[in-house]
Amino acid sequence: MTDSTEIEITESTTMTEGTSRAPSRRSLIGWGGAGLALGAAAAGGAVAVATTGGDASPAGADAGAPVAFHGAHQAGIATAVQDRLHFAAFDVKTEDRAEFVRMLKDWTAAARRMTAGKAVGEGAYGGPAEAPPDDTGEALGLKPSRLTLTIGFGPSLFEKFGLADARPEALVDLPQFAGDNLDRARSGGDLCVQACADDPQVAVHAIRNLARIGFGKVSVRWSQLGFGKTSSTTPEDRTPRNLMGFKDGTRNIAGTDTAGLDKHVWVAGSDGPAWMAGGSYLVARRIRMHIEPWDRASLREQEDVFGRDKAEGAPVGRAKEHDEPFLKAMLPDAHVRLAHPDSNNGAKILRRGYSFTDGTDGLGRLDAGLFFLAYQRDVRTGFIPIQRSLAKDALNEYIQHVGSAIFAVPPGVRDADDWWGRTLFSSTFSSTKGA
């Protein structure tokens, strides 16, 4: 259960059990984050963050401000987690590589405008009366809302356009995990776009307009709305709670933790392939939570399942949320224990999940859960071992993975002439039409 994964995977590998007297990572990171925030503010004026690195907006940044679109890494990964999500996976419909590349450039141009709070193309009004407006209009008057748009390429994309040789080894097909009950219609995809914003309408507007630009070239395969973040990359903020009522992502990798990001999230040039340098790998899992049975579980059981207390989020036997967990004090199948880096050879992933409720399941229950999003440098040493170790997670009784996808997330768009996927498409050639 990924959800579980989400919940505690990021426990620090460096701290040993029983070191609760040591200064918490939280306080260290908090200072670091504040320093970076000040620097960004001094350098960039009103724009929250425009660094070449992790683009972590300072905590407490204006929820309406824009996040820089250009950078060494794509925004929307280390960026301070926004409140809302609209995620969409697409299938490619065209067989024409040049046409697909043109669409990526069109998407990039639209994304550049939308993340800056501007309308797509010529806007939503004022154009010729006989033509539909370029922009659909529902975001008019809304702030940029820290919108980030992050693109990823799925394994199946590399079967097209002569890209086979460019498929990264790390972009594996995820194995079947214990308990998976995957719906094909909610899984996979040739590419994806993650839209995060503090205003849900801004996020939906972004996906809708990209889908519209993509008609004929790509088609929405599935999409997911998320209404509440379940992890943060800003540990100085209050830790959000998931739908099970527990704090989630307490030990997530901070957006300001440059060393941690380099070690666990960003693909290094030496990792290969070259076109992925500065990128990351994204695992998306739709995790249905059986919230009704969960709500009938006793408080003791709930806390035992997680290995943390419900109110404070403190690990078993500890007083504070950010105290180092003492894993052996937890039950062997406690979620936090199994997901902890110490149980997984130090594996850490950056979680960015959101809660969802998609109506009902037709059986008088909410179709609710966690849309798990995790970024990592290599899924083979990240999500996969962690998820395997969660096979015996006590939480599995209350959750089920029903959707799954994996994407190679290319590096950032560097400047106004750059575009999503340039490093991939300019490093490969097509027998048909070149890009």
Partner: protein
């Protein structure tokens, strides 16, 4: 009999004026003034006393000197009817009046009340700015009107066959005739819908009935009969009455096509609307929920949209070559996809839509979206 209607004017004919017109002499001009045009129709000619007249009130004083019953029309350059008079018998006189703006018009006589008629170009002069027409677009509109009329004309015998089978209680024959009877309608639906009153009578689905309408009593048209044939599996006297009513309503449609407001913009938007019809009704299988003949309607909609596009293409391709190229590509892609669902590429025997799986429906929907998005920009490309 077609209803007699003058679209632009009141037909308050003054008998006195009529009697003053004695033929092809100029006498009448003294009484009728500059706005009177003598029209002398024979079986082979259509003479007019003048080719220019002032904008404003105009009167066509028609004399039929031929041996056949004739009709006289005053037409816009795109063949839309300004005013008309039908059933002008040999040796009789009639008049047609209209209020016209400055611009080019045509007068057409139709001996035998058939065909395009014998035409004369005329001009209404005046200070008012004449509507500028791109002759290529006028031609496109005229050709589309002709197409719409052909579709309506061809529908009538098909629907009569369908109605006869219903009245004979021959369920199998009626089922067979059902989908073909709808093709002409589906191809030109935006024209029919522009009349407002016909569509609800002939093409409404049960869920489209208005509040208070009783499906058993107030629901008429093709889909009510579809339900009788495929769901109820029996035909009653009520169905026979519905069949007759359907024929009658469609004859009404046919008689009105010539007066539909058709413009280049409405053609382009109509094409887009046909794709909307596909996207909201056919791809979902809602349109033909009992007969599952959705793909026949689907094909008809696409054909109608393509016809509009082909006619507008000379102008669209000049104003927006990339758009035309994309539309060519997407129409071809959609047609190729649809062909996979029929054995005979020239026939309308499509796979029953209940046999079309979810993935296939998505593929069809994707192709519709791929076409509809650029098609939504056709109108702007045409008027640019």
């Amino acid at each position: 009999m077609r209803p007699l209607r003058l679209s632009a004017v009141t037909a308050a004919a003054t008998v006195a004026a009529l009697t003053a017109v004695t033929g092809c002499t100029e006498k009448s001009s003294a009484k009728g003034g500059d706005g009177v045009i003598e029209v002398t129709a024979t079986d082979t000619t259509c003479e007019v006393s003048k080719k220019e007249f002032p904008a404003g009130h105009v009167e066509l004083a028609v004399e039929n000197k031929g041996s056949k019953v004739t009709e006289v029309y005053l037409l816009f350059p795109d063949d839309r009817v300004v005013a008309e008079r039908e059933n002008i018998g040999p040796g009789t006189r009639q008049k047609v009046t209209a209020e016209v703006k400055a611009g080019d018009y045509r007068i057409a006589c139709k001996p035998g009340m058939k065909g395009d008629g014998i035409r004369q170009d005329v001009t209404a002069t005046g200070t008012g700015k004449a509507v500028e027409h791109d002759p290529r677009l006028d031609k496109a509109v005229a050709a589309y009107r002709e197409y719409a009329q052909e579709q309506a004309d061809a529908t009538i015998p098909q629907v009569e066959t369908f109605a006869e089978a219903i009245k004979d209680g021959d369920i199998e024959a009626a089922k067979k005739a059902y989908a073909p009877s709808r093709v002409g309608w589906e191809r030109t639906e935006p024209v029919a819908e522009s009349f407002g009153d016909i569509d609800p009578k002939v093409d409404v689905r049960e869920d489209g009935l208005e509040d208070g309408q009783d499906p058993e009593k107030d629901w008429t048209g093709w889909h009510r009969l579809e339900r009788s044939l495929w769901k109820d599996g029996k035909l009653t006297d009520h169905d026979s009455a519905l069949a007759d009513q359907l024929v009658k309503d469609l004859q009404d449609w046919r008689s009105r096509v010539g007066r539909a407001e058709i413009t280049p913009t409405s053609m382009a938007n109509g094409a887009k609307e046909l794709l909307d019809e596909v996207a909201t009704g056919k791809v979902t299988g809602e349109e033909e929920r009992y007969s599952h003949t959705d793909l026949v309607d689907f094909k008809g909609n696409v054909e109608g949209a393509e016809k509009s596009y082909e006619l507008l293409k000379p102008v669209a391709a000049e104003n927006d070559p990339a758009l035309a190229k994309e539309l060519d590509k997407q129409f071809a892609a959609l047609n190729t996809l649809l062909d996979q669902y029929r054995e005979d590429k020239n026939g309308y025997d499509f796979v029953s839509y209940d046999k079309v799986g979810k993935d296939e429906r998505k593929e069809l929907s994707d192709a519709v979206n791929a076409l509809a998005e650029p098609l939504s920009r056709l109108a702007a490309a045409v008027v640019k």
